[in-house]
């Protein structure tokens, strides 16, 4: 059995690959809230265990085995979230943290029973897809707006924000699901995005805000 820490890293790399197309040490360290040194050490360990490989400019990529493990974890995490919110009535905001602990203790049998009891849900309470038993993700891929490049376009899938202030402010600006967004420009030093919403409205969105907006094609 891999340790909890290994599992967390696999999940982190998997999500980075989904959202940004690649996982490099810096972004992984940011995500795991550790120093770059410990992230790089962990990557070496994962490489030794043949869970990731290094692929030149694409950075570190999960091996088939690593990816399968990661998908299983994501499934367990999102199922746990559903269980916590739907059955126990715990709020969305807390569910994520709690599910981080839950996901590591589920055995395949419990996982199966849990999915059955919940009626095989397809998404987590935050609207993200739950991979099926083979780890396949049904829905079209969604990415954070913050991972977009200049002149990329897309449609808002979901705004991942619980606070009513920002959510309502964004919605009054027309930043709501199904709105068409085009990234016109990205400020230097990885700064805010200049986006065009609808036909003519243009906004500057800081990184934190843009990372809460999930986009589909």
């Amino acid at each position: 059995m891999p340790s909890e820490k290994v599992e967390e890293y696999l999940e982190g790399i998997f999500k980075l690959e989904c959202e940004e197309g690649k996982a490099n040490v810096t972004r992984l360290a940011e995500r795991m809230k550790v120093t770059a040194a410990s992230a790089s050490e962990m990557l070496k360990r994962l490489e030794k265990e043949k869970l990731v490989t290094h692929k030149g400019d694409r950075g570190h990529v999960l091996t088939a085995r690593g990816e399968h493990m990661a998908r299983t974890l994501v499934r367990r995490h999102r199922l746990s979230e559903r269980f916590l919110t739907d059955v126990l009535g715990i709020g969305w905001d807390v569910a994520h943290e709690e599910a981080c602990k839950f996901e590591h203790v589920l055995s395949p049998d419990v996982e199966k029973k849990l999915a059955e009891m919940l009626g095989n849900p397809s998404t987590c309470p935050h609207g993200f897809p739950i991979p099926d038993l083979d780890g396949k993700i049904a829905q079209t891929e969604i990415r954070r707006l913050s991972s977009f490049c200049a002149s990329e376009r897309g449609v808002i899938a979901e705004v991942d924000e619980e606070g009513p202030e920002l959510l309502q402010y964004l919605s009054s600006l027309g930043l709501i699901p199904d709105a068409r967004v085009e990234v016109k420009e990205i400020a230097p030093f990885n700064g805010p995005l200049l986006v065009k919403v609808g036909r003519s409205a243009q906004y500057a969105l800081g990184r934190e805000v843009a990372s809460k907006i999930w986009m589909k094609q």
């Binding site: 309502q168 027309g174 709501i176 699901p177 003519s200 906004y203 500057a204």
Partner: protein, 669 residues
């Protein structure tokens, strides 16, 4: 000074026949219309504890006296931010006879969103379709007749910057205000299941409530509650007044969420965007695919990742060059004019009237030297700065600056919008600290205010230029700026590190380039300058008078004795120079003027015979950093509270002493 909105509204009501409210999104030309419709005599009012102001004025049209209320520009009419809350309360409490809602034709759908909210409230509305000329230039034609038909309210096309259509706008608004029953406003219907739930809630409230707050219709109140409006939920939270209303709201909101798979407020917002989008599609046609105008293509360079930063550096460099060269030249000119023509006669007049005594001497200080200070600092530097600021603001470039600097500001725990008050602070800390109101959290306001206090304002710049640059060398003046710049950066990073909390994100509308109207720029500059004069002049004149009194009576030397250890031993300055620093608390530029006088009196010559070059540098450095001036302290106190104001002041004194001492130490070796 701002007064209570409620009192002012009722006063306004008594004076006029009709009240019109101006509403709309930010930057749609609302202030331009307000300024065009009204003359001088604008009253600014605010709600207790809130910082967003409402402007009101009285104007005459044909035979009617009309009160005009300028609501803050917002993107929606909710209760999620102070400006929205003030706009909504303002419009509900003023019960206007008609609301003039200004739409920007360039951004119709987004603008229509809030208009739909106004229509939900059932207010009588006249629409001003503004900036249609700009939209036409982009090849977008708007059918205002059709828009009026679809909305069921009068629509008047306007070009506010040129005043086109404004007469017809007011005429229509007066007509609607006088015959409200002839212009009923019928809100758009949302999806049938939502409407059914709104109806259920409305009839429940009609049975259970004695009256609706603000005389709203039960449908309007129902929608607000289903949108999760915190203000109205609070109003109805008292079970005795509104039994079970909130639990009914919760039940119906959950039902909406179940049907639509999203929270009720989002569902209603989406519906409204849907209607707005439909309306835009119906009334606006892209007549032809125009090429993007040259101006706009050039403007795009200002935000481009490659050219943005170089242009920013050029603009800021140009800004400060104009400020220092232009302001400096103006300052010398003012000084010369005052000393040649006014100072002599005024001094003689004072001594002629009061005789030659201590009081007359002090009065001469207060008036002659006080006004000189105002003329040589306030007018040249502050006016020039405000003028440049207004131009930057009205072209929309300040938003570009915020966009480009967001990343750097994050290192200080701020976001891009904080850069606007920080730039303002190079003119004067007072309006800059008031400008931090645009920041959303207290943490951000504290950090920004602290940094603003450290940025040399024009008065401190006058000391640095007049003292260090002129007498010691411009390289030293640059070094001083460098030290202060590092200090600001270090303080920002330290505050971000040690203050609890995180920085919020930037969400800001970006405008296409606009040609600023000279009238609007001058009006803005004048309004800001007036505020500055009101705050600064009494302190400047009174402070100079007090100083004169101490000086003429000889007390000034007695007072300097206890400070000698710090000033002489630690900072290495002449003991009396400490007095100049103390008095600079009144107005920072007094430090230099007083030092010049002290030099003349105690050393019998120029400043260089009183202090050597190193001493002048230390003197200017300490003066730049230690304690904000009296006016700044007052505004800090008002905006952040006494504790924070004193804490900031104390830290700056400590910083100034440490750096001043270091400068002395380095000089010794």
């Amino acid at each position: 000074m701002a007064e209570s909105i409620k009192t002012q509204l009722s006063k306004l009501r008594d004076k006029v026949d009709l009240v019109l409210a101006l509403a709309g999104n930010p930057n749609v030309g609302k202030s331009t219309i307000f300024n065009r419709l009204t003359g001088m005599g604008v009253i600014t009012a605010n709600y207790p504890g809130m910082t967003v102001d409402i402007n009101m004025a009285v104007t005459e049209f044909e035979d009617h006296k009309i009160g005009i209320i300028d609501l803050p520009g917002t993107y929606a009419l909710g209760a999620i931010s102070e400006d929205q809350l003030v706009a909504r309360r303002g419009v509900l409490q003023s019960t206007p006879d008609a609301v003039i809602f200004i739409l920007d034709a360039n951004n119709l759908a987004r603008n229509l969103y809030m208009l739909l909210q106004f229509m939900d409230l059932g207010l009588p509305i006249v629409v001003a379709l503004n900036m249609e000329d700009e939209a036409e230039k982009r090849g977008v034609h708007t059918d205002s007749g059709q828009l009026s038909e679809l909305l069921g309210v009068p629509v008047v096309p306007t070009v506010a910057t040129r005043g086109t259509g404004l007469d017809s706008l007011v005429e229509t608004a007066v007509e609607v205000g006088l015959h409200r029953e002839a212009y009923p406003v019928i809100p758009f219907a949302y999806a049938e299941d939502i409407e059914a739930r709104v109806r259920e809630l409305a009839s429940f409230m009609e049975e259970n409530l004695v009256a609706m707050p603000y005389g709203l219709s039960s449908r309007a109140l129902g929608i607000l509650l289903l949108e999760g409006d915190p203000e109205f939920a609070q109003l109805l939270s008292d079970g005795r007044v509104a039994p079970n209303v909130l639990s009914k709201v919760g039940e119906l909101a959950a039902a909406i969420q179940n049907t639509h798979g999203a929270q009720a407020p989002l569902v209603i917002s989406r519906e409204r965007h849907g209607i707005a989008g439909f309306l835009q599609a119906e009334v606006q046609k892209q007549v032809e695919d125009m090429k993007v105008p040259l101006g706009e293509r050039l403007w795009a360079l200002t935000t481009s990742s490659r050219t943005g930063i170089p242009i920013l550096l050029l603009v800021l460099g140009g800004l400060f060059a104009i400020l220092f060269l232009g302001g400096g030249a103006l300052s010398t000119l003012m000084d010369k004019l005052w000393n040649t023509y006014m100072a002599g006669p005024l001094t003689r007049a004072i001594f002629y009237v009061f005789g030659n005594n201590i009081f007359a001497g002090a009065l001469k200080w207060g008036l002659v030297n006080g006004i000189e200070a105002a003329l040589s600092v306030a007018i040249p530097y502050v006016v020039v700065f405000y003028l440049l600021l207004a131009v930057l603001e009205d072209t929309g470039y300040l938003n570009t600056v915020a966009f480009l600097t967001d990343r750097i500001m994050h290192r200080f725990g701020l976001h891009g919008r904080a850069v606007i008050p920080l730039i303002t602070s190079a003119g004067c800390s007072v309006p800059a600290i008031m400008g931090t109101r645009v920041l959303s959290t207290r943490r951000e306001r504290v950090i920004a205010s602290t940094l603003i206090v450290l940025v040399p304002c024009s008065a401190r710049t006058a000391v640095i230029i007049g003292g260090v640059s002129k007498l010691v060398g411009w390289g030293w003046a640059l070094l001083l700026y460098g030290i202060v710049f590092l200090l600001v950066a270090a303080t920002g990073m330290a505050l971000n590190h040690f203050m609890p909390g995180e920085s919020t994100g930037l969400v800001m509308e970006m405008f296409p380039v606009r040609t600023p109207s000279p009238v609007a720029v001058l009006k803005k500059t004048w309004a800001r300058f007036k505020d500055f004069i009101i705050v600064a002049t009494p302190i400047m004149l009174g402070g100079s008078f007090l100083l004169g009194l101490l000086y003429e009576s000889g007390w000034i030397y007695k007072l300097s004795a206890p400070m000698a250890p710090v000033v002489q031993w630690w900072l290495g300055l002449p003991a009396v120079a400490g007095l100049a620093l103390i008095f600079a608390f009144l107005r920072k530029e007094l430090a230099l003027q007083l030092a010049l006088v002290l030099a003349a009196v105690s050393a019998g010559g120029s400043l260089l015979s009183f202090m050597n070059k190193g001493q002048i540098f230390t003197f200017a450095l300490v003066n730049t950093i230690y304690i904000p001036c009296a006016a700044t302290l007052a505004v800090l106190w008002k905006e952040l509270g006494g504790k924070q104001a004193l804490l900031i002041s104390a830290s700056t004194i400590l910083l100034a002493l440490v750096l001043g001492g270091l400068a002395h130490l380095i000089r010794l070796f």
